[in-house]
Symmetry: C6
Subunit: 75 residues, 6 copies
């Protein structure tokens, strides 16, 4: 399964996303994703040193600034 | 709804945008957006630690440098 | 008006441009722009903390490294 | 062999990946890769100063933020 | 003249190029350029605080990491 | 010769490559390159302040994170 298909298979699940920039880590439910790995998360929170720092609700993340995507429940 | 369509659905609303670079956070009314997530905001302000720092008026933001878009009113 | 058309409408006007990188802020007259937001400015200056730091004359700026474009005269 | 084909030839092997951002180094088994060098790793770990710092399991890495890929077993 | 045509018009001239990254400033004669603003310079030097720091000879610069191009002789 | 052709002409030669990120400088023999300037090097080493710091063997480098390519033998 190609990497983008792997991400599409995570729609509806809670994911952990690391973005470019200093300490920008988010968790939320993946609502949709396109081929550029642009992401739409609902119920998103910003995470700092493993703790929830800020509730953001609905966020859209630009794919080219996504570094790493990690499903939160083990496969 | 794909992430770019989600952003298009926010035209006319006030949004919060985090850009690449140190502490570049903006808020303004989304006037238009294209498929690259290039954004045109009116009445934009630069935000620093949650406070309005500088009024910018009309700004165009380059999509690839957008990290996160967050509608300011809850859905 | 899409964001790139908005920038095209600024040709001939003085604009403020923030680039990726530390404190790289420029002002100059927009001579031309393409769909990637590559910019050609004439009479450009580098701006540091709101003051003119260095005269650069004619400069070409790579679109993907443009963060923010702001027309200098209010609309 | 073109660089992307070289990476495709590493599917099933353990690789070392350096990402953009501060000290983001990962090791894991390459499950799939596409032409953009988006990577899907299984059994991935974050590495800090040559030591395993954190187990991540399955991760997807955005190709444009990959700096360097290095097969862990010598060729 | 579009920005990329403007750069093409500088072939054969000495240019000043600012790259992404810390203090990466180069000067050299522009041998060729393509539509991505990939640049080939000959007789290139690295410049630090306005002084020649290191001779590099022939260098190829990746267009997306070019921030600013400035012809060294006034137009 | 366009910049990418210039790099293709270096296949088989030892090159010096500066990548985005802090002090990521590599040297190695260029095995292959594509139009995105993705590079495959063999016998690669990481270089720190002009000295060989670490042997890496075979590495693939993502083109968009290449800043500068410099052939090691003078032309």
């Amino acid at each position: 399964m190609f990497p983008n298909k792997k991400v599409q298979s995570l729609v509806g699940r809670k994911i952990h996303v690391e973005m470019k920039g200093e300490q920008c880590v988010l968790e939320g439910v993946l609502k949709s994703v396109d081929d550029y790995l642009n992401l739409h998360l609902s119920g998103a929170s910003e995470i700092l040193e493993g703790e929830k720092k800020r509730s953001l609700g609905s966020v859209i993340l630009r794919g080219n600034n996504v570094v790493l995507i990690n499903p939160l429940l083990k496969e």
